[in-house]
Symmetry: C2
Subunit: 394 residues, 2 copies
């Protein structure tokens, strides 16, 4: 059996087709509730016959850093992506979507170099280039009408029996799973990664009609994967909490006499209907001689729980120190952080704000259809899911 | 410079005298509050000039597993100690104090074999034998009147200028620090470990007179270490929360028609005034055919947050699967778990119950007097403190 080494770990080629599915924003609370009401019989089968683990996301608990940890098996300090968005060295804020910014190879890229047939499908286009780093074939559900792959005639959407949903439709994640199944069948894929989107979780809590519908259809698709003989690893990138307290840190700093600070919101992405760019963690840059005053001012803001200096944050959360801020601000479970009130359009939200980014959305489910083959040296993070399924046993 | 390898990591001999201090039960909330009120100027100096990190404890967040992780640099799955107390293979409940149960060498034992002068001082006698595994010289403050060490005439208490406090006195932890300083001076110790006790934290929250007194005196002693040229690592074994909800799981199971289950409380130790053996995590053993019913019954108990099967708990929390229960029960922040109401004497407590053991007491401070020399491959746990101070740089 071929083995590869990626970012310090040894993985064995999949003996059976293996799929990892990132359940974007599926807080353990959704699954606890769904299992209690027997809403997801096929996933309950996975949990019962395989493993039903609790793990931790990377912090900040946003989508891009966690997706990259899942596919590289390494923390943001190694793969280089600490948010969806960052402040570049030239001071401009930019989306972290450029694959040249990724500092570590993915497990998929290395397996492909070893001759394994791999594929990545993302619901949101924003992840496509990052996941394709190292020439991994990758398509997005969002643009399936326009994207093609070697070995498939015409746009990949042609393989799915229903039209591409909109990115704010309840079933766009399910479309990504259908696309993954159809493309894997056509291309005889051995290692598949499918990344969902959390629009439903930003909009509806556990037990609400929208999330029940999402989970039921997810369960049906989990069943399709199982019936087709796939080994599965299901993991969330981060959890989700409702946020009743919004604090605009640029305003709060100005109110406390601190001018010239720059607030960067690493949740920022093109999908503002999800969260209006409001999450529970952010970076703040300030002049060096204002650092201690700014830190004290931020700690004084109701709902702010922790403020770490750059170097301490880099070690505490395994982050790339050159791509975070002078200060790393973490909010409590109920609080989301913004820039200035004027910078955020709350009317974009469909309902009360639900979001993530902080320590209180760090707990995640990890479900495996089989017992883990490899042994970890500590509690699992979502970055361990491929190692649990494919790692070289100790 | 001599290096040693312990449990898969390489450490370099201390170039300057190095002390790790386990601040038993010192939740980050105590330090946040103390720093805000400028109660601990010397510790603030450490934080400012070195590193002020946030890390995680091992779960369950009890004293023995975390002390062993600190001294071995490894999780409970490696060192073998998942609680203060466990149910032995013969069905009897026993204290986890026998050094023969420790499955991994300590950093101190290996450094001593390499010719480095090491010493461990524990406040509570209950840890002494575990910390002395591998022939590490170790004394307890609790029995300093009766214990001796090679190179010291008479009982070690003779070196400290005030009498041994009782184990429920506010300053017994400070006595352990005094003893560590005095013995290190006499024996020219190069690597020192001092483990405090959390009686004060079980009794008083942040800002209360008792904990302020504790922290002020701790700060003075941190200053003594610094002035004497020590490099310091300060870390908590676990956090602490007040517990307004007590649930007796043997009673709750019986109420739900489940008989014959056995509840083991891994917080149990000889110091019942601290916590009356009530913590936020426990093991439950049940007949195999009752497992799913018992799990559902436990999840139904208000305040119970998670119930994991043995195999899943072993992977999720890096625990030795043969020394935990069939079920691992975790409570919410406000809830402590007991056996039957009749088994616990709440009158032993001095005030409302404050305790730990669960996920909500997992966040811990890690303070270093210098920037970390080694790089971690993920967020730090308390088991990383020696590696941060002495690890081989990448």
């Amino acid at each position: 059996m071929a083995t590869i080494e990626v970012n310090g770990r040894v993985y064995r080629s999949p003996a059976a087709p293996t799929a990892v599915i990132c359940l974007d924003g599926v807080d353990p609370a959704y699954l606890d509730d769904a299992f209690e009401r027997r809403l997801m019989p096929r996933l309950a089968e996975v949990a019962q016959n395989g493993a039903d683990l609790r793990g931790l996301s990377q912090l900040p608990s946003f989508t891009n850093p966690n997706n990259l940890s899942i596919v590289t098996g390494a923390p943001p300090s190694v793969h280089g992506i600490p948010g969806n968005h960052y402040r570049a060295p030239d001071g401009r804020e930019v989306q972290l979507t450029n694959p040249e910014l990724v500092r570590a190879p993915s497990i998929h890229a290395e397996f492909q170099r070893a001759g394994v047939r791999v594929l990545a499908v993302t619901t949101k286009e924003k992840l496509r280039l990052l996941l394709s780093a190292g020439d991994v074939p990758c398509v997005s559900a969002e643009f399936a009408d326009e994207q093609s792959l070697d070995g498939v005639d015409g746009p990949v959407a042609g393989l799915v029996r229903y039209p591409v949903p909109g990115i704010y439709d309840w079933n766009c994640s399910h479309y990504a799973l259908e696309l993954g199944l159809a493309l894997s069948d056509r291309l005889d894929v051995e290692l598949l990664y499918v990344s969902l989107t959390d629009f439903v979780q930003h909009t509806a809590g556990p037990g609400e009609m929208l999330s029940d519908g999402y989970l039921r259809e997810l369960d049906r698709l989990v069943g399709e994967f199982m019936d087709a003989g796939w080994r599965l690893g299901l993991v969330a990138d981060h959890g989700m909490n409702s946020k009743s307290n919004i604090r605009y840190l640029a305003d709060e700093l100005a109110d406390r006499g601190i001018e010239g600070g720059h607030v960067t919101l690493p949740i920022t992405d093109p999908y503002v209907v999800h969260h209006a760019a409001l999450g529970s963690a952010c970076w703040v840059d300030v002049d060096k001689d204002e650092l201690e005053r700014a830190r004290a001012a931020l700690l004084d803001v109701p709902g702010v729980e922790e403020v770490l200096l750059r170097d301490d944050a880099a070690v505490s959360f395994a982050l790339p120190r050159d791509r975070i801020g002078d200060l790393f601000v973490l909010a409590d479970a109920e609080t989301a952080l913004g820039k200035r009130a004027a910078d955020h359009d709350l009317s974009a939200l469909r309902g009360p704000l639900r979001s993530h980014g902080g320590r209180h959305e760090q707990e995640i489910p990890i479900l495996l259809s089989e017992r883990p083959v490899a042994t970890l040296n500590g509690p699992p993070s979502n970055g361990d899911v491929h190692f649990l399924l494919l790692g070289e046993p100790a």
